[in-house]
């Protein structure tokens, strides 16, 4: 049973890592949104596995909440934004091979940084925490290097997923209220960003954030 738990946990963590790397690789926004939904499913599986292992009913309910929010609501909202003209492809500031290599470096950094943490409790659950940190760092990288508003939102979601992974793996879940609060924060941020994208679109004709520089003059 314990072995199956480790396997399910590792598989979910691996899927989350894979989808995070693929977000750097793929340019088409509709595919990106599908990847984010897949990552949401993997995150829900991860949380569900932890809940099932610890017989934690509250955490189990939370897994369903995460599934609903991250696999259905957020992708739905993102898809609505991304169907607007001029939003079909992202054009990264750093080219794709370089960002993929950067992702590899970020993963190496997170493995190095979390070593003391893993050494504290070397269980299978804690051993997977570098994955969470890697995803948060990749999200930050996406925020830095992508220009389109939708890609910015995707970077933001990656950071949130990364933090959630680290939280669930190290502490078996933060209190429900805190997690719900942060999830609602992200939802709110996306709603605000959606309105913002619409406004940017209305003024400039597309959502390239570089156009906003002109506002400073």
């Amino acid at each position: 049973m314990s072995n199956q738990f480790v396997q399910a946990l590792n598989l979910a963590a691996g899927l989350i890592l894979l989808t995070a790397v693929l977000t750097l690789w793929i340019r088409r926004v509709s595919t990106l949104v599908r990847l984010i939904a897949l990552q949401g499913v993997a995150l829900a599986v991860l949380v569900g596995t932890v809940a099932w292992h610890g017989h934690d009913r509250q955490l189990g309910l939370l897994a369903f909440g995460i599934l609903a929010l991250k696999a259905f609501v957020l992708p739905y909202l993102l898809r609505r934004v991304s169907t607007q003209p001029g939003e079909a492809e992202t054009d990264p500031l750093v080219n794709v091979p370089a960002s993929l290599l950067a992702a590899a470096a970020l993963a190496a950094i997170s493995y190095a940084v979390t070593r003391p943490l893993v050494a504290l409790v070397p269980s299978a659950q804690v051993r997977a925490t570098p994955v969470g940190l890697t995803i948060a760092l990749i999200g930050l990288f996406v925020l830095l290097t992508r220009r389109r508003a939708v890609s910015q939102v995707i970077g933001f979601i990656l950071i949130d997923n990364g933090i959630a992974v680290v939280a669930f793996l190290t502490t078996s879940g933060v209190p429900l209220v805190v997690e719900l609060g942060s999830a609602l924060d992200v939802l709110l941020a996306i709603l605000v960003l959606q309105i913002l994208t619409n406004r940017i679109q209305a003024v400039f004709g597309d959502t390239d954030l570089d156009g906003l520089r002109e506002l400073r003059d």
């Binding site: 598989l11 894979l18 790397v21 794709v96 091979p97 993929l100 590899a104 993963a107 570098p130």
Partner: protein
């Protein structure tokens, strides 16, 4: 070295050589059916090969011995790899030599010899194809090495037979994140190395897009047959390696005629499964621009690298 192990090695090489053109035929037939055409049947590549083998090769003026030697070396290295890699059984006579680095090096020798032949003809196409092929090869080799290397820590060896035997005995490894990352990386590598669709279109003769076809443009008759046959064997080699690492069920780890038979049937079934996925998948994608190909392969290298890291940090100690 028992009689069985020698028989196994022979069965393996004959099987891979025979199945190569058939796999290409299956891929073409699948493509035809999905596109609504009747198709030429899965044996058409074999008929083409037999026709070509009867014809006299004609060398272009000014070409050297490199052009004549290349198909033989390419075929030789491909067959050597077919013997080495544990496709049917991990107990064949050559299992001790089936080291990952030896296999990748043999594949690279074949690639390099063919690019030399492409340069030897002195035509624009040959040189162009050779330069593209070597660019891709330089990115493919590290990806293969990293990806398969990620599977070696549990087995404690880079010997492919040991790795496959270990994965047969310990099925818990199959659903690990390492396997997931490795299989994605290996599939990309297979597409690139075998010249399949997003990287190279095997059916095209359009000057600007071809890679493999550009190199072998000056070949004819027997030599062309050898080159085409070896290319199809390389597709089986890579697809079979991916299949056996990801789904090692049925590979014979014991000596015996029954185990060998099961191994052969399982290998063919796995090859058909992966080939079908590849063939149907190819219908729905377009060829990448050449400048996008390094992106694809950089992705494979990074996935391989992440798999190696995950193999050392995530899985070790938890099992």
């Amino acid at each position: 070295m028992t009689v069985f192990s020698v028989v196994t090695a022979l069965v393996q090489v004959v099987l891979v050589a025979a199945v190569g053109p058939i796999l290409v035929g299956v891929l073409r037939q699948l493509r035809a059916r999905v596109e609504g055409r009747v198709g030429a049947g899965i044996l058409q590549p074999w008929r083409d090969l037999i026709k070509l083998l009867r014809r006299e090769p004609i060398s272009a003026a000014g070409t050297s011995w490199v052009l004549i030697l290349a198909p033989v070396v390419l075929m030789g290295t491909s067959l050597a790899v077919a013997v080495l890699v544990p496709y049917v059984s991990t107990r064949s006579a050559t299992a001790n030599s089936s080291d990952l680095f030896a296999v990748v090096a043999l594949l690279l020798v074949g690639t390099v010899v063919l690019t030399l032949a492409g340069l030897d003809t002195g035509t624009a196409f040959g040189g162009m194809g050779a330069s593209r092929e070597i660019t891709i090869a330089a990115l493919v080799e590290p990806a293969v090495l990293l990806a398969v290397f990620a599977l070696s820590p549990p087995a404690g060896s880079t010997n492919l037979a040991v790795i496959v035997a270990r994965r047969v005995s310990d099925q818990a490894q199959l659903a690990s994140p390492v396997s997931l990352l490795v299989v994605v990386a290996l599939m990309i590598v297979t597409l690139a190395e075998a010249g399949r669709l997003p990287v190279d279109n095997p059916a095209t003769h359009l000057e600007l897009t071809m890679i493999h076809e550009a190199m072998v443009l000056e070949y004819s008759g027997r030599d062309l047959a050898l080159v085409e046959w070896a290319s199809s064997i390389r597709l089986v080699i890579l697809l079979g390696l991916t299949a056996n690492l990801f789904l090692p069920w049925g590979v014979a780890t014991q000596a015996g005629a029954l185990a060998l038979l099961v191994g052969v049937v399982a290998f063919l079934a796995k090859l058909l499964l992966f080939g079908a996925v590849l063939g149907i998948g190819e219908v729905f994608i377009a060829k990448f621009r050449l400048f996008r190909v390094p992106e694809l392969l950089a992705g494979a290298v990074v996935l391989g690298f992440l798999a190696v890291m995950a193999a050392f940090f995530l899985v070790q100690g938890s099992g």
